[in-house]
């Protein structure tokens, strides 16, 4: 039941970042990330010393020992003293966090994983500190470590290379050509939510004891070793925390400031207790989560690794501390602001050109608040609101806050508060409709209780909290490539016409009906998706043989009971994720072909194809391009056009139909999602002109968002997206909506309007409960940018203005700092259709390039 006792859920009296956190936050925004070589150095050291670098599989126990070695050797940083500035100089850090430890040895670090794609940084070792876009400082001594002591050992043993050598039939060429699909296993097997419940409530010693007693009882050698790997890994986590305690004690001994000395003594006391023992206080519970979180990073890169429903996990400790007078709201806010900053203490290591695809992305560490509990009751509590307020105050890219909402169960005041947070921050939290998500998850086999306990992974992907290993970004499909192969009979302009890539599905100029074209497209989709699935399977086998994950397996529901590592299907629920890039552009292209070529027979297919090859540059083709782009003359997704809506539903059905029949490497089927991160800009950059009038190199629409400018008013867009059946969207979707800012975030009328839009989009389209059970047309997810376009344009042209250093925007699933994004991504965000909160009318009167007046 609802546990809201706060009189003011907006917590308006806490108007500023807590004084303790302010200098830390300032330093965070001034500092650039530094490459940390501790983990790669110690991991390599262990692998070399123990002969693990070979084609022979590596056991989970060996991996656990390697990670324990790392955890026992890495520097215990209690309070970082220095941070690096862009010019290479160092700044002193004055603030004192309430949490010790870090994911790297730096204030803001980037971890190198040579087992994965770490070696892609090799060509840049001399230039990464000074590269223009998102540099990472690399100390010359550390450069030598990577160049001479780390990278050479892994040349033959990265996951991708082992796979390439062992799996000659894998579609390695397609992966290399990038325009077809991306597979994320060469870089990580992340994208999931660990379970911190046992660590918080029982302590890691209980996990260790349990694992050891199961190891002793095991009759099977592999199983015995698996349980020993869990114990070994958790001993490493405990050891790291104890070393932090010792370091805090040491620092306290030399500290002259009485308050600082006392704080260090307190930190030492906390780290001697947790995560080894059950957390007794809210702060200890947060410390346990933080220690487990840092440990997981020593094992796997954080790509969408998410923290789950922290307001549910930690509420008991919070409530008890509040009730017993150990904590007040201000204290809880201070703790959460400190933790939020800690969570963002690392960034992904992206090579220079990776920036073109992923520029500006963080690790996408989602935290989920609100919604219903496992019994379907309102689970919003005071901590939900405190977390929301911490997010508003901190305005950080990571963590990525996601709020669940169940109409008629959660209160309307809660929804208004979520809308208010969006108006205040301009970009967060993303909102998820419990009704739609729970329905999507149960359709794929989750029990109702499991589905109700979902958290958001990475961008928008729902997964049952702490028990579902979704790896929701296993493959990213460029759907536009499938369309391209259908248009050119199995050939692709990017790789050169004349080269057969996909199946020969026939020359569309010879097709008599749109059904034939749809058949061809479906064949190409199934072929392309099949290639991605095959690649993922090959990579998955390498993860199983060379990359077991004992740390994450210890912090997950399933492996302890099943006796299997997560990479060997140890999780309670297993699936693999396929996310689709270019959905709306393909829907619109298909709809244009249906209407203009086959139904009205206005445009011969050959003419259309010539226009595409010529990128609409000839005058007659330019006129055709204008017509194709015009939503009044050509069907568009997001306008409630019956042709476009039907094509959207058909396409989502085809993709779900294919993927739900494919079994992933850990068992469990694939689940399809529609969130694009920055890939809709990256892939757009590479792809030629399309039948929806999109020209070469232009961005695709993000997520499942209609192409910008298609929907003249907001209801059209919301209704079209809502009509795509949720049963086909088990891995979520991102719908990006931009609102014109209102005068005040506390404006009652604006809040009413905002909440009404969300409520209307999320509501079932029927009031009859029986019909509701069958109805699949309520909205699933929505996220916002509420920012003035002129401000974005100014930020585009003057990125160095101080006020833009922290400008947060919603990309597609996650938030990012506008200044860090690629030029294409900045353009895409500026170009997004903007709607008025009152009435939902669209402002659609612009298009890049900017007019001279705007520039």
């Amino acid at each position: 039941m609802s546990e809201v006792t706060l009189r003011d859920t907006a917590l308006s009296e806490y108007a500023d970042v807590p004084a303790r956190v302010r200098p830390l936050r300032d330093a965070y925004f001034e500092a650039i990330p530094e490459v940390c070589v501790e983990r790669p150095k110690y991991v390599t050291e262990y692998h070399v010393a123990h002969g693990l670098l070979s084609d022979t599989p590596i056991s989970g126990l060996s991996k656990a020992r390697a990670y324990r070695h790392v955890l026992e050797k890495r520097t215990p940083v209690v309070w970082p003293q220095k941070a690096r500035l862009r010019d290479g100089s160092q700044m002193e850090i004055r603030g004192r966090s309430l949490f010790a430890g870090s994911t790297t040895s730096k204030f803001k670090g980037a971890i190198v994983y040579p087992e994965l794609l770490g070696l892609s940084l090799w060509p840049e070792l001399r230039s990464v500190s000074s590269r223009p876009q998102n540099p990472y400082y690399l100390d010359p001594k550390d450069r030598r470590v990577l160049n001479e002591e780390v990278f050479p050992h892994w040349m033959d043993y990265s996951v991708l290379e082992i796979t390439r050598r062992r799996e000659p039939t894998a579609p390695y060429d397609l992966l290399q050509q990038i325009v077809f699909f991306l597979a994320s296993k060469p870089n990580c097997m992340s994208h999931t939510i660990p379970s911190f419940s046992r660590a918080v409530h029982e302590g890691l010693r209980a996990v260790i004891d349990d694992a050891q007693s199961r190891a002793e009882a095991a009759t099977d050698g592999d199983r015995r070793d698996f349980y020993r790997s869990l114990a070994e890994a958790m001993e490493g986590v405990v050891a790291y925390s104890r070393r932090l305690a010792a370091e805090a004690d040491r620092l306290a001994g030399g500290e002259r400031d009485e308050q600082a000395r006392q704080e260090l003594r307190t930190l030492a006391e906390i780290h001697r207790a947790v995560p080894e023992r059950a957390a007794r206080t809210f702060r200890e519970a947060l410390t346990t989560v933080w220690m487990c979180w840092t440990a997981i990073h020593q094992e796997n890169p954080n790509v969408g690794l998410s923290l789950g429903r922290l307001d549910q996990l930690l509420y008991g400790h919070y409530r008890r501390d509040i009730d017993e007078g150990r904590l007040d709201v201000a204290g809880a806010l201070e703790l959460l602001c400190c933790l939020w900053l800690k969570i963002g203490d690392h960034v992904p290591l992206i090579p220079e050109t990776g920036e073109r695809l992923f520029g500006g992305t963080g690790s996408n560490q989602a935290i989920t608040i609100g919604g219903v509990d496992r019994d379907g009751n309102d689970s919003v509590n005071d901590l939900t609101y405190v977390m929301l307020r911490a997010t508003e105050l901190m305005m950080l890219r990571d963590p990525n806050l996601n709020a669940r909402y169940m109409s008629c169960v959660n209160s309307p005041e809660y929804l208004r508060r979520l809308c208010q947070a969006n108006l205040r921050t301009g970009a967060t939290p993303a909102l998820h409709n419990d009704r739609a998500v729970i329905r999507a998850l149960t359709t794929k086999g989750d029990s109702l209780e499991q589905a109700r306990d979902y958290g958001i992974v990475g961008c928008v992907e729902p997964g049952s909290n702490g028990r579902h290993y979704a790896h929701s970004a296993a493959v990213l499909i460029n759907l536009v490539s499938a369309l391209e192969l259908a248009l050119f009979n199995g050939e692709h302009r990017h790789t050169g016409l004349g080269n057969e890539i996909g199946p020969r599905t026939g020359d569309p100029a010879s097709f008599a009906s749109v059904e034939q074209f749809r058949d061809a497209l479906e064949v190409q989709i199934r072929w392309l998706a099949g290639q991605a699935v095959q690649m993922n399977a090959c990579l998955g086998r390498t993860h199983q043989s060379h990359y077991p994950t004992p740390i994450l397996s210890s912090l997950f529901e399933g492996p302890m009971d099943k006796g299997n590592d997560l990479v060997h299907a140890g999780a309670t629920i297993n699936s693999s994720g396929a996310t689709i890039i270019g959905f709306a552009d393909v829907v619109d292209s298909l709809s244009a072909i249906e209407r203009l070529v086959f139904r009205d027979r206005d445009v011969p297919f050959d003419t259309l194809r010539q226009a595409l090859v010529g990128n609409f540059s000839l005058p007659e083709h330019a006129r055709l391009g204008e017509r194709l782009r015009d939503p009044r003359r050509t069907p568009k997704f997001g306008t409630e056009d019956p042709i476009a809506d039907a094509n959207a539903q058909w396409l989502a059905g085809v993709l779900d139909g294919f993927f739900s029949q494919q079994v992933g490497p850990r068992g469990g089927c694939y689940r399809v999602g529609y969130w694009t991160m920055t890939n809709h800009a990256g892939f757009g950059l590479l792809m030629p002109a399309m039948p929806n009038g999109r020209r070469k190199g232009e961005n695709f629409a993000s997520g499942m968002t209609p192409v910008s400018g298609a929907a003249r008013s907001l209801p059209e867009a919301l209704n079209s997206v809502a009509r795509v059946p949720k049963r086909n969207l088990p891995s979520g979707l991102a719908l990006n909506i931009k609102f014109t800012p209102v005068g005040s975030a506390d404006d009652e009328a604006a809040l009413d309007d905002f909440a009404a839009w969300v409520e209307g989009y999320f509501a079932p389209h029927t009031s009859d409960p029986a019909a509701d059970a069958q109805d699949d047309s309520c909205g699933m997810e929505i996220q916002f940018n509420i920012i003035d376009r002129a401000e974005l344009i100014d930020a585009l042209h003057h990125p160095d203005k101080p006020e833009y250093a922290e400008l947060l925007v919603r990309v597609s699933g996650y938030t990012a700092y506008f200044k860090d994004l690629t030029p294409e991504m900045k353009q895409e965000i500026i170009e997004r259709a903007e709607y008025n909160l009152a009435g939902g009318a669209g402002r659609l009167d612009w298009r890049f390039p900017l007019s001279s007046e705007e520039e």
Partner: protein, 178 residues
Amino acid sequence: MVATLRRLLLNVVSYLLWDGPVARLLRRVCPALAKELEGEASGEFLGLLLGGMGLALDLSRSYRRNVRGFSAVYAIRVLDPEVGRVARFDKGRLRVAEALGPGEQATVTVTFNDTRALVDFLVAGGSDILGVLLENKVRVEGNLNYLYRFGFLVRDLTRRFDLPGGTAAASRVSASAT
């Protein structure tokens, strides 16, 4: 015999020189490479680059540390104009040939569409290995990690010895960007 003696001599010299004089020597001995790096690279670029790299490995102990214990055979081809070279790294040295020996297998084979792609790929300036892959101007057969290492060797060569496209050019790029 002559080659062995020459290598022996250079090896002795490398213990007497540090990177500054090596850089001057490199620019004097390989003026064509510097010229190619400064201007529009021609079909000669690949041969000159590998020649310069080999000489730098012979002359510079610090540069040689990059390939300590490293053995690999790179087959590098440019399609337009058609040029091919084989680079064999072994025992801290680089030997360059026109083609693979009989029965010899390359550790990695890289084919560039043109010399421009080769330069973009190998020399600092905002584009890297993935960039050229993205633009479909290179085809790699074999272990991509070897290519990452080769990319570092080239960039280290140009920066360490202040060849055009190296430190000076990169810092100009960086300064203008910031």
